[in-house]
């Protein structure tokens, strides 16, 4: 299992993530880049703030990567997540997966981002012009 799983408090580097995931054995590279959107339900978002429970977040991300390797024939997995204050257009998360063939790369990449959003202890606060809210906190 070859992984690069990290949490950064500085800007994520898309090109170096892609350079790391590429290899001669990999016929398919799938890269998911999450970016900060300028609105939620029609309301203008000024910025986002991300907070992580770092040791547990890293442990949970490693578990997700392990499951991806168990379920699909993938070669490398990269998960980079950002914390701190992010402006619209900035990148909170990069998931990159390499495999010999594209199907495994697509499936594993989708599984990793979907599961990350359910189980990894990272929280996002949306800052609007007239207030702020912790995403998903209330029903």
């Amino acid at each position: 299992m070859i992984t690069d799983i990290q949490i950064f408090d500085t800007a994520l580097q898309i090109q170096s993530a892609i350079n790391w995931i590429m290899s001669p054995e990999s016929g398919g590279i799938d890269v998911f880049i999450g970016t900060v959107r300028n609105a939620t339900k029609g309301k203008k978002v000024i910025r986002l703030e991300f907070e992580a429970y770092e040791p547990m977040a890293l442990a949970e991300m490693k578990k997700i990567a392990q499951v991806a390797f168990d379920k699909w024939p993938v070669q490398k997995v990269l998960v980079h997540h950002r914390t701190g204050v992010l402006e619209v257009g900035e990148v909170p998360v990069i998931i990159a997966v390499s495999a010999a063939h594209r199907a495994a790369a697509f499936d594993a990449c989708r599984y990793i981002i979907d599961t990350l959003k359910q189980t990894v202890p990272i929280w996002k606060k949306e800052i609007f012009e007239d207030g702020e809210v912790w995403v998903a906190a209330h029903p």
């Binding site: 429970y53 547990m56 442990a59 990272i122 929280w123 606060k125 912790w134 998903a136 906190a137 209330h138």
Partner: protein, 80 residues
């Protein structure tokens, strides 16, 4: 025993602090902890859900707590 509970996200706002200390029985469980916290911080009950993590793992209600455990309140996550 005296335990320390870490708070993140909205739990930090509810506690008004990044951690709180509680005095609990030596055989206390996660269930006991949630009950006690909800008495003291009723806003916890308004959350969509919340989990307790013990030593960086999600814990079950029946799991026992120990004085040196790293205990954290995990409100609904929203990464990515």
């Amino acid at each position: 025993m005296k335990i320390k509970i870490l708070a993140f996200g909205i739990a930090k706002d509810i506690f008004g602090s990044t951690s709180v200390n509680l005095e609990m029985a030596n055989d206390a469980t996660v269930y006991n902890l949630k009950y006690l916290l909800e008495q003291e911080y009723p806003r916890l009950k308004q959350l969509a859900s919340y989990m307790v993590a013990v030593n960086n793992e999600y814990a079950l209600p029946g799991d026992n707590l120990h004085e040196r455990d790293e205990i954290a309140i995990i409100p609904p996550v929203s990464g990515g």
